[in-house]
Symmetry: C2
Subunit: 356 residues, 2 copies
């Protein structure tokens, strides 16, 4: 995939930079890890510091000192999951800020205004998320509205702005997912996202939704699974034809001391690591694994040192980015089935150790 | 000054790495800033993760991935300021940990055991701090005990271990400071620290104590003022013949959003910086000032992003380290009086702006 700020190899994982910062790491660290694109949140940046401010200061890339591509979400999911007192109409959503309770409005035109002000490389059309579980008719209404809003978003895309993706909704109903996909494809977007997932459904349901939707999306356009998931979720979704991912899991888990390794998860506060002089993951070449022992990482975490959050985040993001690199290699050499099998076998090893 | 881990140019400022980490920054960032030596806390590392663990893992330098010199304090000040239920005897101090209330003992032999286990380049003899204000006789007792303990510390210094400094006590009484200095100098330490300051006294009292003590310390040995202070305090103390400093002020203030610049302090949350596209300090070449605007630093701080603490800390430490570099240059060229005058004039500029 090509953007004004450089290319992206797919399948790709996008670290989440909610508030114009990927929590605990610097842009240079993201580059060293190999991140080719990050995600920023339209809802959060609209509320604080404001998209007009960021535009005045030269756009989001310059503001946050990141020169590679940025994907912005639509704000739809955050309005649904964070904001209070939502009122949805055909124009958009009136809501209260989760920060100070102030009243705001987001709709298709506003979401595009914000994303274009930020200077996004890949924008998302404004969508309506529904709760899980939801009644069929409510989901159908949301699908219809999402299509109308997507068309209005396409209509206010300015010359020279970034790519625009439509977001497929439809809850857990395969036929509504197919309907949403068909309606959006008819509008010919630059790519398609699967939204409204990671809202409480189990992994099997999620995979079934992906499987039911993917055939209705074009083979030659990128497909982006929003907000998912564990390393295993990503491997499975790639096998179903997904090209792009974002998730707070590697960064949030890092700050909670749960670390992803080639042999499964490590809970770094576990007493077994007190004396452990080995790198966190001997198969990882990240800054954290090159220079620090498990014993030191445990000490930093127990002592609540700020460096703990950084070192853990660097490793977890490197794990996700490296996983995607290995997946691309497996796809290139047509070894994806073997890769998938080996990957799943490796993942339980550490849990068994920690449980003993 | 030379140590087993390299040389230190004086006057020097030492960033504080209390728990085997200078809060919010990496060793590489400290090197880029130009820090030639850091301080680590004997009391904290003894309690968590324990000096025996650090020795087993190859010493503090390897544990925390820092290859330049490390100075360790004696633990005396922390036992006095942090620990609970202290009982002081001629052997040392029984106290309760501020972390979990567990009972511990620190005395001259123990403090040396810990510092040598850590692999410290510059160790401090175990001392007794007194409250401020304190009665003359109590301070005299503490001075006498500090001398006896210093002698015992010198007695258990192992072959090949780091330098050992004696700590001058004596409260705010010039004659007791002189007594303490004379007694320690008779024991011929590698350097001398001024302890028991920054305990609530005003700057004038502190400067008077330094002025009263310095003549009793040798010209050819380093003098280290412990736990002091503001940039102006450092400039004044250098003029009185002090060579080394440590203080949590640059790092702690950074995390509170108070930033030191060439024109005085900046309170970064101030609304005046919302739209301010300029670097924090146009006269600073640190990573933060090279790549980020005041507007972005304010945004990160308001949004409580972890990157805020790092960027602010990098700048404040760079400010202190650069100030010492400028002071060394002024001393070399015999322009210290002029430097001091210019420095004090520059410091108020920003307050006047922020107050308007």
């Amino acid at each position: 995939m090509e953007t004004a700020h450089g290319g992206i190899e797919t399948p790709a994982f996008m670290p989440v930079g909610t508030q114009a910062s990927v929590k605990a790491v610097s842009p240079e660290e993201l580059e060293e890890i190999g991140a080719e694109i990050i995600l920023a949140n339209t809802y959060h940046l609209y509320l604080r510091p404001g998209h007009s401010l960021i535009r005045r200061l030269g756009g989001l890339h310059r503001f946050m000192h990141w020169s590679r591509p940025i994907l912005t979400d639509s704000g739809g999911f955050q309005v649904y999951s964070l904001a209070r007192l939502r009122t949805v109409s055909s124009d958009g959503v009136v809501f209260q800020s989760h920060i100070d309770g102030s009243r705001h409005f987001l709709g298709p035109e506003k979401a595009m205004e914000i994303q274009q002000a930020l200077g996004s490389d890949i924008m998302m059309a404004f969508d309506e998320c529904v709760p899980f579980p939801a009644a069929y008719d409510d989901v159908l209404d949301a699908v219809k509205r999402t299509t109308l809003w997507a068309e209005r978003c396409a209509g206010c895309k300015e010359e020279g702005s970034g790519a625009l993706f439509g977001i497929v909704q439809g809850g857990m109903f395969p036929d509504l997912r197919a309907l949403s996909a068909r309606e959006l494809v008819a509008l010919d977007f630059d790519g398609y996202a699967l939204g409204g997932l990671s809202v409480g459904e189990d992994a099997a349901t999620r995979l079934a939704v992906i499987q039911a939707t993917r055939p209705f999306l074009p083979e030659d356009k990128p497909v982006y699974l929003m907000g998912v998931g564990t390393p295993a979720d990503l491997v499975e979704a790639v096998c179903l034809g997904v090209d792009m991912f974002d998730c707070v899991m590697p960064t949030r888990n890092a700050r909670n001391g749960t670390l992803f390794t080639s042999t499964g998860r490590v809970t770094i506060k576990n007493a077994r690591y007190t004396d452990d002089d080995r790198p966190l993951d001997p198969n990882c070449g990240c800054y954290t694994c090159r220079h620090y022992s498990r014993a030191y990482l445990r000490h930093l975490f127990m002592a609540r040192e700020l460096l703990a959050y950084r070192l853990n985040t660097i490793h977890n993001l490197a794990y996700y980015i490296d996983l995607m690199r290995a997946v691309r290699e497996a796809l290139r050499t047509e070894q994806m089935a073997l890769f998938r099998e080996t990957f799943h076998q490796s993942q339980g090893i550490n849990q068994k150790k920690e449980d003993t």
